[in-house]
Symmetry: C2
Subunit: 326 residues, 2 copies
Amino acid sequence: MKVGIVGYGNLGKGVESAVQHTKDMELIGIFTRRNPACIKPKTNVKIYTMNAIERMVGIIDVFILCGGSAKDLPKQTKMLAKYFNVIDSYDVHGNIYNHFKEVDSASKSGKHISIISIGWDPGLFSLQRLYGQAILPKGKDYTFWGKGISQGHSDAIRKIDGVLDAREYTIPKKKIIEGVKQGKNIDVAKNLYHIRECYVVVKNGIDTKKIEHQIKTMPYYFNDYETHVHFITQTEMDENYNQLSHGGSIFRNGVTGYDHEQHHHTIEYTLKLDSNPEFTASVLVAYARAAYRLQKEGQTGCRTIFDIAPCYLYESSREELIKKLL
Amino acid sequence: MKVGIVGYGNLGKGVESAVQHTKDMELIGIFTRRNPACIKPKTNVKIYTMNAIERMVGIIDVFILCGGSAKDLPKQTKMLAKYFNVIDSYDVHGNIYNHFKEVDSASKSGKHISIISIGWDPGLFSLQRLYGQAILPKGKDYTFWGKGISQGHSDAIRKIDGVLDAREYTIPKKKIIEGVKQGKNIDVAKNLYHIRECYVVVKNGIDTKKIEHQIKTMPYYFNDYETHVHFITQTEMDENYNQLSHGGSIFRNGVTGYDHEQHHHTIEYTLKLDSNPEFTASVLVAYARAAYRLQKEGQTGCRTIFDIAPCYLYESSREELIKKLL
């Protein structure tokens, strides 16, 4: 199975590494909008310009798209889906259905398979939401993110006039997690589950009180949250706030039984990730295998994580799966 | 979708209750080897003898088999798979592949769908093993069971001469779980993960030292484990050791990245169940929906939890799933 990577940021680097850990995939090329001469891959893989993609028909089985969800993927996935099997990690929750519809029609017209929104949220967390709700229809979901950097919230702070750099850490509140773990039904609003810890570098002589106020009152991103703001130097930022670690938990607390004798159940799914992009890349690579197999079966169109039978992710045969893992 | 239950023990009662919590299923009947007059269901459902099953062709869409794995299911699933869509919770790990082959050929000859070995282990835990290994191929699995009663181990003690009743609780060792949670790779043998706590009622005047020795030296079940034996009265047993609660955790600790810079990741899946049979029943009911839908698509043969795309478990349409859960 021959794989190509589009975009060589942290996610693309993660895919390059994850493909090395498989036995059934070969990385054919990395495709970039930058000057290929400026890119030093970690393996011996070839670097191509984006224009070279059109020559890859019949050569590359699945393209793993590693661009950003804001600007790259809405165009790239749709464009490439017509000519190749593709997979992306599109994560703008509110727009996923539109993205799905567009990519689906492109894939169908080119008779290819595409899989969108693969990662951990959307992705593995979405899967746990589905399994939890299907198994315990009477119950409640709880999702906790972090501790980890939120790119969206960091970007929102960086746009404030006078801010030079910023990182926002989302941190779930321990007491609330503990309550949910014990099967309690917590009735507080979602924004009270998390603390937003902001590290900010500002221009010399700027009024930090004003910046702090601007952050804490920013609608949607911060005003409904417990938000802490810390002003630091660029050196401190580069040295201490540069981790790619992330994680989170998703719980389903549900009840079964007759009305007069109910039993409580808790399903917990927790991820602790040293490298968010490398883990997301590993999920993408497993689902790229599924895209390849689905097309071999003659299927076409766009799929989500909900549509893929788990066996498509695994290298071994069905017999081995049943004998070893069931 | 019309459902029938075969067998009315704890699991059958759980299914009766779980079907009430769905919007798309109707429970048509409970089928039993006992005298139907002796069975008092919790709902208004009809009770039938096993002979009545043959009249249910065209009436019942899916039979949920709630018999035991030792004696009932190896015969029942295969027999009924020829005439109906069926689902079971067959859990003898070492024999699942044989069971699969037999049920598969019966289902194919009758053009029906069967799903075997549904529950949490085998079942949801198997699923997590697959997802974990597919996403983090470089890594290690850890499975912890309990705290909960092991039926097999309890039965093994009951077979000892002089024992009137027995319950065995499997309890995972906290220190080991904590190490695994922190991403450590634990290199001790599996039998050292768990403690076996045995509560035993014996005949008057029996030599308890001898019974204790027999339990602790029993091959496979106890001799390799830290085993504690407590002798109690039947009254104590009935009052204090009658819970149906269970649970467990499954971890995948894996690494990603290039050889010289590796990142650790931990995936944890934990179940805390007040009622083991009611939870298992809830998993069966969700997968019964999948069996029905697969046959409607014209598919036939036997499936495992690995073969079923998650969307088949959920009542809503694909559009709703993407919009609400992804």
